[in-house]
Amino acid sequence: MQAKTLLEMRGIYKSFPGVKALKNVDFTLHEGEIHALMGENGAGKSTLIKVLTGVHVKDSGDIFLKGHIPVQIRSPQEAQNYGISTVYQEISLCPNLTVAENIFIGRGKGAFVSWRDMNRKADEVLKSLDINVKSTQQLASCSIAVQQMVAIARAVEMDCNILILDEPTSSLDESEVAKLFKLMRDLKSRGVGIIFVTHFLDQVYEVCDKITVLRDGKLVGEYEIENLPRVQLVSKMLGKELDDMADIKNDVPTFDEKKSEIVYEAEELCSTEGIKPFNFHIRKGEVNGFTGLLGSGRSECVRAIFGADKVTSGRVKVDGKPVNIEKPIDAMKQGIAYLAEDRKRDGIVGDLSVRDNIILALQVKKGFFKPFSKAEATKFADEYIKLLDIKTASVETPIKSLSGGNQQKVILGRWLLTHPKYLILDEPTRGIDVGTKVDIQKLVLKLASEGMSITFISSETDEMLRTCSRLLVMRDRKLVGELKGDQLTQNSIMNTIAGGEQE
């Protein structure tokens, strides 16, 4: 029997100055359905969601809710009133309030609040959703996953029947994702329709019932999950047959350790961020990587190398000479570049133009009294826009109006422009589309073959296997193993990550 339709969007158009973001897009959601919305960056997923939640007002088209009622959604508040709730990638709750306050904030009737009632109700909701957290706990003290679930609890409490999850899993580890999926299935059985936006194909095939694919602002199609094998999904998203992915795989040239000299070497390096002192080196033209679960100290290690956190001990040699790296500028002067994990916080300067964002690092390296002329800066920017195929209206466009993948490419361009001999990439492919991911992996291999040393960190193990010739495994903020050559398989990585104490 066909389940009842919760939401129908018909012929949605939306354009921004210079861009047609959505062209005649249809979307249908049924009761008790988990529906994946897929597409590359800039395909229009976010815009469609924003139209649905009233952040953007559509140019034309119709939206019908349950029972074929036409509605106009002009603000997020209105969307909420219609029972449409959204949980964004970045948590949009108040970290300094308690869990209960976060669930009920802005929804009190009248000016008075009964704190006890509120906490009790919150506990009920949390319990019914099997979320293990106290309602009186401060939100900031919960893990990201729990915060994410609190956001969902808030949505559920508001009696939403349409729940939008926009990349909720990008900062969760596996067990947390599993919990989230359990919660999603639970909601599904209650008849809630869930729109799930993610870049992780595995997850789509794990929980979803249907997939809608968008490309370049147009609808490619709606598919039952069982009728759309993975490879086809990817090719539909990219709009081309996908040999690229296969190409890159197993194509890592075997890196000969003996032949090239050590570019960077650290002994007993340690920072204030709680990692155990570790030894590390990288050779010219080598690609290696740190792997481990989230929170295992991968990022903290590379941040210590770059001087991004305060270094407390350790001896560092660059090209065999002892150097002192205390802050980022010291590392930059030694030819080290670092693309940080958190693009929004540590990467982009939102209101500045693409051009300024590209030249920033080189400009700082060059010095205060030697600014580039506008023409020079534009030349640099154009060069990297072309090289990395960055989609931007112009070099003057503020970087914040670019899509995530393109922002990432701008930051990558910024560091490539400094012509580093050692490039550290911390999660460069997080939250960006498959096509760009492949581009970045290819670029990493190309740069390495030209003699650049690269440290590559990614949550997706297969990505690391495709690019790295040596993997350093972290567990509990400690370096626990090193894998190379034949040891580089999913299994041995898993074993090393999970395994008991070595020896």
């Binding site: 802050k327 980022p328 930059m332 940080a340 982009i348 920033l360 400009q363 700082v364 205060f368 600014p371």
Partner: protein, 363 residues
């Protein structure tokens, strides 16, 4: 034809979006208002002043004369706002200190000396150093101790005028020297007031700094995203600190002009409320008071808008007590108009107005 209208339309829209549009429009409207109501407003006459030199006088001249201090302060305030995402509210008090230091150096311990006790250049340098030291104090609180700018500068705002009085033992020294009064009045033989030249020199210096250093890029990066700036090799604390020291220098120059005008000082009245005008100048210039991107030229124009307004109100014999109230009304209008949300709306209205025209043209 339609092509031409399109480009014209784009220019109008671009103008609306441009930050500098608001202060320019404000100046234009004020000028237009005066032009309609009383054309004599723009009359400039030349006649001998009290020293017998022929000088220009008229409302326009007094605007560019008395707007100088504010415009100079607006430069420093813009940088401080952009880098530290907050404002320095102690500039008025700091100006009193700077002025007091000038008088202390020139007069020595005698409050009515017959001749100067030190060369003027020495007084100026000492006043710069002292004002920059106070700027450094504010900067230290903001950048190292991470105190909110307004709270940090509240300290000097409260204590500044007492410090100024204490520097001269609470006396009101009077400098009796023709050369000293040149800086706040006229150079013999030149009919344009000196403060205007000093302000002009400041504009040129800041323009050169902007052109030949990375100050703008650094300040904007730090104001927009401190974390990113640090990871790109900048030292955000130092950059914020520097903007406060720089504002100290602006305060010194402004304070020096101020005491030179009257050759004396009144601790409680000199440069009173000028901090609010300086902040307003930044806002009217369309700069975000939340830091980040900035445009100094717009702030400078903003300062002259405020002075233009003050002079206009004086011209219409507005009671000096009521002056602030009138000013407030105009300022509110300006600030609301310059808010991005309103500007977008206006631009949208213009677009709508134009589109039917276009349709007609086509048919």
């Amino acid at each position: 034809m339609s092509n031409k209208t399109k480009t014209e339309g784009n220019i109008i829209t671009a103008l609306f979006r441009n930050q500098i549009f608001i202060p320019i429009a404000a100046l234009f409207i004020l000028a237009l208002f005066n032009f309609i109501v009383d054309r004599s407003f723009f009359k400039i006459t030349i006649g001998p002043n009290s020293d017998g030199n022929p000088v220009l006088s008229g409302n326009i001249i007094s605007i560019i004369d008395y707007g100088s201090e504010l415009a100079i302060l607006a430069i420093g305030m813009t940088l401080v706002t952009a880098a530290s995402r907050g404002q320095d509210i102690s500039v008025g008090a700091a100006m009193a200190i700077a002025g007091s230091v000038v008088l202390r150096v020139l007069c020595g311990t005698n409050s009515r000396p017959d001749e100067l006790q030190a060369p003027i250049i020495v007084a100026f340098i000492v006043c710069c150093l002292v004002a920059m030291a106070f700027g450094a104090f504010n900067g230290l609180l903001v950048s190292v101790f991470k105190i909110q700018p307004m709270v940090a500068t509240l300290i000097l705002f409260t204590a500044g005028r007492s410090i100024a009085a204490w520097i001269n033992n609470n006396e009101l020294p009077v400098v009796n020297d023709k050369t000293f009064s040149i800086f706040g009045n006229y150079i013999p033989g030149i009919p344009i007031p000196t403060p205007f030249f000093i302000a002009l020199a400041c504009f040129i210096i800041i323009a050169l700094i902007m052109k030949f250093t990375n100050l703008k890029l650094y300040i904007q990066s730090v104001g927009l995203n401190e974390q990113t700036s640090r990871l790109n090799g900048l030292n955000p604390a130092f950059i914020k600190f520097i903007t406060y020291v720089f504002l100290g220098l602006c305060v010194a120059v402004a304070g020096f002009i101020k005491v030179s005008r009257f050759s004396t000082i009144n601790y409680s009245v000199t440069a009173k409320d000028i901090e609010m005008d300086a902040i307003l100048a930044v806002a009217i210039g369309g700069n975000s008071l939340g830091g980040g991107k900035f445009k100094i030229s717009a702030s400078i124009l903003g300062a002259y808008v405020i002075q233009f307004l003050t002079t206009t109100l004086y011209k219409f014999d507005v009671n000096s007590e009521a002056l602030s109230a009138y000013k407030a009304v105009v300022v509110i209008a300006l600030v609301v108009l310059s808010a991005p949300i309103v500007r977008e709306k206006i631009a949208a209205v213009f677009k709508k107005l134009r589109s039917p025209e276009k349709a007609e043209l086509k048919s």
